[in-house]
Symmetry: D2
Subunit: 382 residues, 4 copies
């Protein structure tokens, strides 16, 4: 199908978890097709993955540099590349493809330093490209509904925020004798690979991004405590933020909270009502108009105004799940790319997907949190 | 990729809801590829759908009869066909493909009469084919976990069942003046297209199938009341069943219950504990061992033994949703088909997907319920 | 305080569970005072209880007959007596006090046979007395709110009912070798003391009473299955009822459902909305107006119209609990009695407490359920 | 009954909310009897209340000073006095009764300044009296169960705490033009009557007390932001605490969070598990042992070890509610007082009720929070 939008992957071998999620999510959209890849640094895995997904062997590359060079030289070269490699490699890979004029979708985090992030943002602009980030929670339909409700003034002026992302999966690491041999957390607790933060970088940034996506609020400054429990990097953090409008929010992220799986909960309180959303039950939003009982809004129902930038895929009462959230991010990205490639102007509504600026905001957030914690919880400007 | 399993679709135009779900679900499995189709009786839709999904135009057929003939004659013909057309056409289409030696996956219901269903079951056996039914709720990972727990004796001998499937979506129809112009329910309340039942056939059968899948219990007889509220077909039903082991269960299905979306809830009580599952939150099972507090089991956790016939696709705490349930049904079906095509014997564990017998059981259930209701709630053998 | 309303107790020794609940509930009302009693057939317990609660020893009686005689002869005799003795004694004791012109509040069940119940109803009328029954769940404030909402048409015409009362506490009895030595259930499974039913009589009647209290619906006929699991009396029952308006309801009661404590759940569906209430969280009602999201109504909030016959005792968000439900029943009973004693006419709103007719309805319900179950689930008129 | 423990009340007119709760809670205990009072500064209300509750008119006092003098001079004088007057009067009244050798139970807050609180603590010790505080949430049975579980090591070493108390009831005040005329909050937002804090003092202290009661953790220092939204005192606060063991906790309290009633939620995370409790559903604790699913523990069940210092009053599944929590505080206080009066030594387990030290800790907490907020969120030692 020559009309299909060809894309490539860096990372995403058949046995890689998150790459597989990306590929399945893109497959929800018949407008795109996997055309090239550098799936693994293990040659056999690379070849096998290409074969499994029907990629022409001439477009299965040994390394991402040659992929960027050759694809950018082809008239039918990939229009975007999806990067799902380890975090420490995001910066170099993204930079390479941008430099070659190829659009990029990158797993979070964008990179490790503010300088790198600013460079990628600038490069994207300079090259006039589209850069997508898979902060996937913003892809849930009900998060979009909540965002639209807030924008429409349904909860009035925001006056308080409370959000958290708690997990339990690293609890077993606390008892381990050697802090260096963190088996569960793997690279996440290794400063060489994970950068300056484990917990805040891995999940705290999702709080930051989701609250920002929902409310548009910008953090002016923040203060924080982090807890490492004798390990190299943080595994728990309490953060108080001050937004530019003078309102405060409290964020808590943790990887050692027994009973929590991927407990991202965002609660926004305004002068006219409140909205609460929990990732475990993503098809619902608890909405309380001032002076009224809480209402449990459900995705896909007739009483909801459909979100501006996406629609429902399943009728109400049938859970859409995380794949659909990813698919929504990609759908919006692909729509924008097709429109841009057709020479049409992109309106703000066309850009309803996380981008490099969001990635930069995430990096800044992590640095501010870790910086405040090291400065005995002093306020740090973001 | 010549190695891929080619499949075809009857129904499933690009703008058809359930066909699209099927196609996306199959797309989770890189082993299968869409190779032929008769997607719509509207020629333009048929052509466009084929084009959109990259099906060679020579294999986009005007009608399912010629599709069955030609595909069965090709050496590279489709190995199975997925039927997602209106209910009243399932029987004829399925029969046609079976007759031509092509395996079938069919949306529920299998057909309208017990005789038709028995014929399809017999034909499947005679032709030595694999017949799958997309009773999709049995595809949820935690339903499989619950099934395995029951089989392993975790709740002892079953002594009571309570299950329901309640929806609200037809409530507005009650006020309509003309019972013949049911806008919302569409064909579902038209006896010519829907057969003898609306509510029991559409959602009551999911109760029957899910309880049977979980427990293996067979209904010996049942009695029922149905409510039509002045409309041609049932919109609410209360059913008491007697299983072959002497235990009773109560089933309730409704399309007029405000506040209910797709509220399939199955609760199984045994001598050693209980299991409760709700479709709205499919990644969880509430398990109460006798004399102990309820435990909220979550998909993907380390304390759960993985279900026998499928694995998790996402880590615990990330909702998988309905697409994955469909994808699990298809994955198991495709695995079985590949194994069978390779000449290997299929063990019971290989057959973990609903089949024509399940479809037959559903048809029998509907007839028994409607029959009992018409006989002033007398017991009817199933 | 001569102005206080003196009351007496039959049963309710200091170490008796339900009698203590009654006494505490009455103590919420400063208008009544415990003045006499026949607390126990064990003389020491009887004396000690009187002493503990400051009852003059001359009014602590050896038997209820002499209590009825002497109190009815005193000018300052008790105005009502609260009966909390074993079920099999309710009839005789109530009859005795009514005969002596003393008002009665009786624990459920009223008695064992329809004839006895009719006799007590008639005697109450003949003597022009007030007879209260402590179907305590009708005392919860939010049950009253729901009743008022239904009466006000908030859910339109009722079209379906689904209610249950499930417990787990007798599960251990199933494994016992000797059906006669039921330790847990005690007298409840002994036909000599419990009458014809265990589960239906003990908790099934609460379903019947609560649905009737909420909706005013009268059961025309019903059919049922019961399960005894080899024990003398029923421990699980499924019931389908037909109300006089042609609508059906499904009731399930069980004492062997692991994970259930006192799970009385009542769900009422109407043409304009639904109301759902659960005894475990009695301060909340889930209300879904047609075409709108479910609202979680909370007791004590400004958006609720206060219930007609009672008010809130605690601000919203502070659980009132079962004692308050009992206290509300007694408050309304005491208010009515004071008003009646003052020679004022009692309006229907003054009689917002369960009475002997409700007790009679309960006895009829039990007999119909057990009768249907014995007649292979035939319909039985109620 | 000469054997009953006579007590008195300061405040608690028949129409006063919290005084009535205290009186009903004490009435759960037949060992105590209301014998004296200074119920209101309005003479008629004072007299009427005494009459309503059967207090001898000679012991209904015009002012608390004469009550303290005369009762302390009587051989049958009250053994303790319950203070439920406005907050600003607690200190003087408590001091007066302590000085006269009368035991005190005081509503929270104990007083307004650390100096006052220390004085009351010292005076209590000097006079060898028992001082109770009605931090009532510590009276819930399941809070006691959780406390015992933590003490028994069920969740290991505590590593994180997250707690909140959110309300919505002052949201309407935000829009009012004149910050001085806060109608809803009344005296709570008036610095002259409420002291230095509204929200933190009123509900933030409940977080502090409940966490401390459950865990025994002592706050070493804390930092905070508060939000007044243009009003005289705080209505929202975010607090990060550092306990003496190096662990951090996050507390959030708010009176402007739409959808929240009395949302006290305490979540304690340890190396071996977690415990979560919510005041709206006080009969339950969510307990997650490490590596296991969450368990919903229910009050009154056989699998729970009964709490050390109290028992259940109702069977599991019947909500006990706030009155019982208050009654438990009073029961333990009265038991201790009777034992002390009998000359017996009091063991730690006998002192399971909040006391003056807890009141002092509350005052210190409020001052630290407000102090930190005024110092741009600097750490403040507690």
């Amino acid at each position: 199908m020559s009309k299909k939008l060809p894309y490539g992957m860096v990372g995403g071998a058949y046995n890689a978890f998150i790459g597989e999620v990306h590929r399945k999510a893109i497959a929800f959209d018949p407008r795109a097709t996997l055309a090239a890849g550098c799936f693994s640094i293990i040659p056999q895995e690379n070849t096998d993955t290409g074969a499994l997904y029907g990629v022409d062997s001439s477009r299965v590359y040994d390394n991402y540099q040659s992929m960027a060079e050759k694809e950018s030289a082809r008239p039918d070269g990939v229009r975007f590349v999806s990067i799902t490699t380890p975090n420490s490699t995001h910066y170099e890979i993204a930079k390479t493809f941008l430099t070659h004029g190829i659009n990029v979708v990158c797993e979070k985090p964008l990179c490790f330093t503010v300088e790198q992030a600013e460079e990628l943002v600038a490069l994207t602009k300079e090259k006039n490209l589209l850069f997508g980030m898979t902060y996937s929670y913003s892809g849930y339909t009900m998060v979009k509904v909540a965002k639209d409700m807030i924008a429409a003034g349904k909860i009035g002026k925001i006056i308080a925020v409370n959000a958290e992302y708690a997990q339990e999966w690293l609890i077993d690491e606390l008892g381990q004798a050697d802090p260096g041999t963190a088996k569960l957390s793997g690279w996440r607790s290794d400063p060489k690979v994970a950068g300056i933060s484990n917990c805040v970088g891995d999940i705290g940034t999702h709080i930051e991004n989701t609250v920002h996506y929902l409310t548009g609020l910008k953090i002016e400054r923040l203060l924080a405590t982090t807890n490492t429990y004798g390990k190299p990097l943080d595994m728990n953090a309490n953060i108080i933020v001050a937004y530019e409008n003078g309102v405060n929010g409290a964020y808590w992220c943790s990887q050692i909270a027994c009973g929590k799986l991927n407990g991202l909960i965002v609660r926004i309180y305004g002068t006219e009502g409140s909205l609460e959303w929990e990732q475990h039950y993503p098809d619902y939003v608890r909405y309380t108009p001032k002076g009224r009982p809480p209402e449990m809004l459900s995705r896909g129902t007739g009483y909801l105004q459909q979100p501006s930038a996406t629609g429902n895929r399943l009728p109400s009462g049938h859970p859409e799940g995380l794949y659909v959230a990813f698919a929504n991010v990609y759908r919006n990205y692909i729509s924008a790319l097709i429109k841009k490639d057709a020479g049409q102007a992109l309106a703000p509504a066309d850009l309803d997907f996380p981008n490099a600026e969001d990635g930069l905001a995430g990096v800044r957030f992590v640095h501010a949190v870790i910086g405040s914690a090291k400065a005995d919880s002093a306020w740090v400007n973001v």
